[in-house]
């Protein structure tokens, strides 16, 4: 890290504000390195905000050089990919996993990986034993239920308000809001039409995704995220 005086990341927040840095894997995603004083995002240095916690979406944990507080894991393909990594590296990179349920099959999930990207209702949560025991035996995890269904109840935290737009970013924001975070720092989010999907992260789905529809889904999801933050009286910034 350089010794130059770092600028303030978010001048508007006060000492007691809890901030959550959410890192996605859009084209503008940058490497992140931080300690208690300085946070380095890409080439730029900032002062670490007081009470900062970090969250990564799906495989964005690889962008962190320090362990992530919350590693959100959305779709099934992400676990498939996670298993390919060395478990020791994963364990040192993610402090806690946050695993949402997707008990219903959503249209956009059918788009991803031709419908097999999501977890169908009947295998939901059983996969924790079958598919990912090697991971969750090692790393502490939260289970959260995304759908407010009268028929399905896992007895875990529910986020019914997400049900109309299930995306891992939305879940991260709702999770943050419910835990009292008031300021959200977003990195690696590119909802603009000219944005392209990071090919490294989407090697499974790349061929099957129509890039236009994917962008619109991103827009839709991002618009929801911002609306959620704003309508809860919280603030955000995009880096």
């Amino acid at each position: 890290m350089t010794t130059l005086a770092p600028q303030l990341l978010s001048p508007s927040i006060d000492i007691n504000t809890m901030s959550l840095l959410i890192v996605g894997k859009g084209p503008s995603a940058k490497k992140i390195k931080f300690n208690k004083e300085i946070i380095q995002i890409g080439d730029k240095n900032y002062q670490t905000p007081p009470k900062l916690e970090t969250a990564s979406l799906n495989h964005a944990w690889q962008l962190f050089e320090s362990p992530v507080d919350y590693g959100f894991m959305g779709d099934y393909i992400n676990f498939e990919e996670l298993k390919q990594h060395d478990i020791k590296i994963v364990k040192n990179s993610i402090k806690r996993l946050v695993i949402p349920t997707f008990p219903l099959v959503y249209p956009h999930q059918q788009q991803v990986n031709n419908g097999s990207g999501c977890l169908p209702a009947h295998i939901d949560y059983h996969y924790k034993d079958e598919q990912m025991s090697s991971i969750i035996d090692e790393i502490p995890y939260y289970l959260i239920q995304v759908e407010n269904s009268p028929f399905i109840n896992y007895g875990v935290e529910t986020y019914p308000e997400i049900s109309n737009s299930v995306s891992i970013g939305n879940i991260a924001v709702s999770f943050g809001l419910s835990r009292g975070f008031k300021h959200f720092i977003l990195s690696g989010f590119d909802p603009e039409p000219e944005g392209e999907v990071y090919s490294d992260f989407y090697k499974y789905a790349k061929k099957k995704i129509d890039s236009n529809s994917f962008n619109h889904y991103y827009q839709f999801s991002y618009a929801k995220m911002i609306e959620k933050i704003i309508s809860s009286g919280c603030s955000y910034q995009r880096i």
Partner: protein, 274 residues
């Protein structure tokens, strides 16, 4: 205003004036009121009627002049304080308006609890306008004000507690004024909370700054639907627009969810059944 006039003590002339006001004989009324007021400037009933009359005729200057004297002579007088507060509010002097409206609220608690709600509403709007002038720290005060009121004023409490996120939008606006995503979220938040003026303001801004990204026509259509709902249009009218909206909103450029529209529809149907 009729409630305030003590009919036992009222002059015949005041009764006459009241009749003239009812019959819209404005020229005579104004002359008579002026003559009478020059003789009895300290009469509480006369002053109230004259101030109210001038206020209704948009003669704020005269009304203010009378009320200044009236509130000086009768500092706890409910209607004097209320009207003076109203006028100051219209003149954007929010601090002094709040001072007089609070006095009126105290008086209303003792004398006339029925209009307490009206006073709180006025205070609320004063508060809102004040926030626009960046008196954000007052938000907590108005929240506690609403909390103090008993459960019959739940609606008002709801309105006031809604304020906080809206204030945050104004605060964040400086930072995000050119971010279309922020403007869109602000538009949708104000749309949900029913703050029409702000909704239109952000709609206008989206026109300039969001064109690159958003399907502007879709938002325009959304605004049209809101307007139809506002003026209680027929169900068919709204349904036609809804269908057009759904045709265009094929996930591509999608910024509103079906859920939101569904909720609007439900509210609409509910309002019709009433």
């Amino acid at each position: 205003m009729n409630q305030t006039i003590n009919t036992e003590n009222i002059d015949r002339e005041l009764l006459e004036i009241q009749n003239l006001i009812k019959n819209n004989q404005n020229e005579e009324v104004e002359q008579k009121l002026e003559n009478l007021y020059s003789k009895f400037p300290n009469d509480i009933v006369l002053s109230t009627i004259y101030a109210e009359y001038s206020f209704n005729k948009a003669n704020l200057k005269k009304s203010k002049e009378i009320l200044e004297l009236l509130t000086k002579n009768y500092p706890d007088y409910l209607f004097g304080n209320k009207l003076y507060g109203k006028i100051l509010f219209e003149e954007s002097a929010y601090d002094t308006a709040i001072y007089f409206l609070e006095k009126a609220l105290q008086a209303a608690n003792k004398q006339n609890p029925q209009i307490k709600e009206e006073m709180l509403e006025l205070l609320y709007y004063c508060g809102v306008s004040r926030y626009k002038l960046e008196y954000f720290h007052q938000a907590d005060y108005y929240l506690s004000l609403a909390q103090r009121i008993d459960h019959t004023y739940k609606d008002l409490f709801y309105i006031v507690s809604e304020l906080k996120p809206l204030l945050q939008i104004f605060e964040s606006y400086k930072q995000h004024s050119s971010d279309p995503w922020f403007l869109l979220a602000a538009y949708k938040t104000f749309r949900k909370s029913g703050h029409k003026l702000h909704q239109i303001k952000f709609f206008e801004e989206l026109k300039e700054k969001g064109a690159r990204i958003l399907d502007y026509d879709l938002i325009k259509l959304d605004l049209e639907i809101c307007e139809l709902l506002d003026r209680n249009a027929s169900y068919q009218e709204v349904e036609n627009l809804n269908q057009e909206w759904q045709k265009r909103n094929k996930f591509a450029g999608c910024v509103f969810t079906f859920h939101e529209l569904f909720f609007d529809k439900k509210n609409f149907q509910r309002s019709i059944s009433r």
